[in-house]
Symmetry: C2
Subunit: 294 residues, 2 copies
DNA sequence: ATTCATTATAAATTATTTTTATATCAACCG
DNA sequence: CGGTTGATATAAAAATAATTTATAATGAAT
């Protein structure tokens, strides 16, 4: 069976228009008619219902089922291409959320440098949530990710290497700046400057707000620690980060949280379980493990 | 890309012999040569190393990677066929381990009968461990499975509906038969008759033995409760089953276990998350839920 | 040195897919 | 109504792709 037919069909279930699919793939319309016929023969079932009365194309139950699998197959094929490309170019793409990149990566880079392997490494920046998907679909080969619970994801292998508590950061001239420890509930009426939703900080933050039964007022979301810290320093709001997320600065004060059973920031090395690691990638992984492991 | 090429390649990585692959698929040998060439062109990389010196065919890193994905794609395609076949024949295959079949299924069957749906149901018997795989690769659409921890498997959805403690069964004339409750450690020197390893009972049993630091003497393994019970009645050994696993009989006595934090037998309704349920399958699922749910 | 087992190559054949050209069908429109 | 439009189907021709046949090449084993 040709995977092209699956691609045609997958598109058809979405556009519900034979001619449009033909256009999308730069082929003529009868090609699509024939492709669908082939699939219907292969699976011995009607896949689409041509309802010319309402000029609307229906997908049968079998068709829906096929569409689900067709997409899975096409995604797998795509992933295969990406992986093999990285493999042949001996390139390792390491996904890094900015906080981890700032805190842990310098150490790793130094070791890789020493082994002359830095040239084979590309980094891919993004929030942990976004990177998890990037890892799945082959944009990255390895990643260092943050999470609030030990990672255990379908098709991914995760090895936790560090845990960090979350902290609150306020401007040095903020009323709370004198305190060293506070309860999250005391922040009920504060304004917040936070990471955007592709970061795990949000998961943890939401746990805190849910437990304390309040809707926080989030005045701004950014995806850069420095931007956030600058806003905090100017009292635009307070923020919620890990201790390691913030370089030291005089105009911002760090507060410990006193709440029980707090979520933690768990840092893990993550990779796909279906991915056969190259020697280079294994070396990178080994460096990550020895450098980051306790 | 044609999936046939992936099948050829997958076979080749295992047989490591072009001619053998050709035979396996009933085609001529140059067909395989060409297929591999096509894949090598598609992925722009060498996939196999023709090492004629050692008359051994090596698979490159890229080849290994492709093989992993090729198998995944072919399995997905196979699953698709199976699912669509069941779909068009409006047949639902329900996987049932024998213990669950004996205890819970009669109730379910009565309800299905009342709704005239029993004709659309086929059952597939096997241990929970084996059925889990059968469900994954499409031999079954739904299953009632036993487990010792709440089920959460990659690509499967599980809804727990009952919990049962494990018990020990001994012959009526066994020295322990007078006791009503015992500690597992008291069984250190007993002979055991058990289910074979495709049953979850083993997982639980192993937890008990590990905690009590002994290697049990297993004298026989069977996959039928009656066989096991008959052996127990004749003092061939004692067994380890759920309370519901045994019909009442005079020659066998049931003992409660006194150990702390025992594993339980958790019964769950399980199905694939990628599977689009037919109306019939949804009805069956609804009957399962109402009949089995508390 | 010859034979054997294995894979490669090239031309011919066969199968499959795509295009071109045209038909069908229902809805819409004045 | 009849004509036009948008959508899919069909059939024959053309283009592509896969497979076979026949044979060559390669290295190992005897």
């Amino acid at each position: 069976m040709n995977t092209k037919d699956l691609a045609y069909f997958s598109d058809l279930t979405q556009t519900k228009n034979f001619s449009k699919v033909a256009q999308d793939f730069g082929v003529t319309q009868p090609t699509i008619t024939m492709a669908i016929k082939r699939l219907e023969a292969e699976f011995q079932t009607k896949l689409v219902l041509r309802d010319r009365t309402h000029n609307d194309l229906g997908v049968t139950a079998s068709g829906e089922q096929l569409a689900v699998h067709a997409r899975a197959i096409l995604a797998e094929l795509d992933l295969t291409h990406q992986e093999i490309t990285h493999l042949t170019q001996d390139q390792t793409v390491l996904g890094l959320p900015p906080i981890i990149e700032n805190h842990y990566f310098p150490r790793v880079a130094a070791h890789l440098q020493a082994q002359g392997m830095l040239a084979n490494l590309q980094t891919l920046e993004g929030g942990s949530v976004w990177l998890r998907q990037a890892l799945r679909d082959g944009q990255a080969d390895l990643a260092l990710l943050g999470s609030t619970a030990p990672l255990s994801y379908k098709s991914l292998v995760a090895e936790a290497f560090d845990r960090q508590p979350f902290r609150i950061f306020v401007a040095a001239d903020h009323p709370l700046a004198k305190r060293q420890r506070i309860y999250f509930s005391e922040l009920r009426h504060e304004k917040f400057v936070l990471f955007n939703s592709s970061f795990v900080h949000n998961t943890a933050f939401n746990q805190f707000t849910r437990r304390n039964h309040f809707r926080p007022e989030v005045v701004f979301r950014a995806n850069d620690t420095h931007v956030i810290m600058n806003l905090v320093a100017q009292n635009v709001g307070v923020t919620f980060l890990t201790a390691i997320g913030a370089q030291h600065r005089d105009d911002v004060v760090q507060l410990e949280l006193l709440d029980d059973a707090q979520p933690e920031f768990i840092a893990s090395i993550v990779y796909r379980d279906s991915h056969v690691l190259t020697p280079t990638q294994q070396q990178v992984l080994a460096v990550l493990r020895t450098t980051l492991g306790e």
